[in-house]
Amino acid sequence: MSATGPRASAAEIAAAVAEGRVTAADVTEAALARIATEDKTVNAFTAVTQERARAEAAAIDAARAAGRPLGPVAGVPYAVKNLFDVAGLATRAGARINRDHPPAARDAALVRRLHAAGAVLLGALNMGEYAYDFTGENAHDGACRNPHAPGRMTGGSSSGSGAAVAAGFVPLTLGSDTNGSLRVPASLCGVYSLKPSYGRLSRAGSFPFVDSLDHVGPLARSAADLAAAYDALQGHDPDDHASVPRAAEPATPALGDGIASLTIGIPDGWFEAHAAEPARAALARTADALGTAARLRPVTLEGVEAGRAAAYLITNAESAALHLPRLRSRLAEFDPDTRDRFLAGALLPAAWVTEAQRVRRRWLGRVLRAFETVDLLVVPATPFTAPEIGQRRIEIGGREVLLRPNLGLLAQPFSCIGLPVVTVPVFEPGALPIGIQLVAPPWREARALAAAAWLEGAGLATAHPPPAAAAA
């Protein structure tokens, strides 16, 4: 595959650049050209940093020419959700209000780490306002459109991060996940994502949403690229008070470990009841594939609805408190789809939120007990495939429900307790994508990534190109 083509992996690009088969400048120009022509439809980017990208690519090419060592993702183009600080840009976090902020003085911690690893930043990406979103719609920047079906949602809130990878603009992006904001767009756009353990990757220099629940992580089109990005991003950072002082635990060396030694749990009950047919079918196919090499067992997770409720209440209250000054002074400038939720969150009784924190802890205990008998949990990432943009309601299990809160229904219970989750795409070429979550015990990202690589190798998990790209 050409290293300048839209489906080139980060690994292929980095190898081609390192071996001198292509220059970082050529890779960058090809990506910029794709964005210039194709992002008019997708609307993934809110800022394209051409000058910076060309300068970073030139520095990589100069380093190679001088015989200096290159980083593991040298010359690989990437882009970041626009809640990450990018020096010289106002950090929008999807909000009109934030456009008044002064430009960031320095890059976010994870942007600095990818820069140190040789990656080339192409710009900032669309997202739901202040990350309070599962749809990918945004009243200020316009809806981000699903590359597989431009009339449909990308999912959110890391909408541009999912779409840019699916569309082939870049092989890597960064996003954030508080209740499912990496996993929902990964599922609806048909790409891979990693939500690491809470406290694993630094959030320093990213605009917060819910401090107790915020995670940041990468998206990619292969398990190997996801692991490479994750490895480049790891490391304790005292600038993020949630960052845990653990040594980096590289996942790439363990990517070929397979699943033969694993017992894999398939949660029933609540998860089954809240998955529509495409999600159930994808889960069945995944379980069938995993069952050929690993032991499977059904698992009943008691209290999942309480865990999800805790996530809702903590999110609503903490995010509203963060935005209270803006709700008082600039209410009319909020996106109508976040405004009333933020207002309601500012009025929640404190006792409800405190109780939610305690229930969160108890829910974690229940899931850790399940991990005494299984090594991974496998759950659909979204209840259904991408709805149409503007859609408000959807049917699950014969019951019509509100679409917005239910898009993240199957993802919320796991981010609430900070567990690492890899989302893998499981869909047929030409069909609407859907993803499956591989949920691991705390700090076992490498196990979930190895299982993702196994599913990819087995031909089940594939980030198929959108139909238009496949036909080109």
Partner: protein
Amino acid sequence: MNETDPRAPEDPLDAHIDTASALVGLSIPEEHRAGVRAFLEVARQMEAALAALPPEDTELALAPVYRLPEPPEAET
């Protein structure tokens, strides 16, 4: 239901919106009131759902994230 007031004033949510918004210094415009009320209703249902996992008195996790910083190197 009060037939002259569609906001169903007997429900404590309506009184709560008025009192709590005044207390935190928020003005709830009339056109947003129904939306705010709907989300508070969702929150009330979520609070009821918490009862499925009642914690023991000793099960505490009340601080979202709270760790004291290390002292400066010169003082260690």
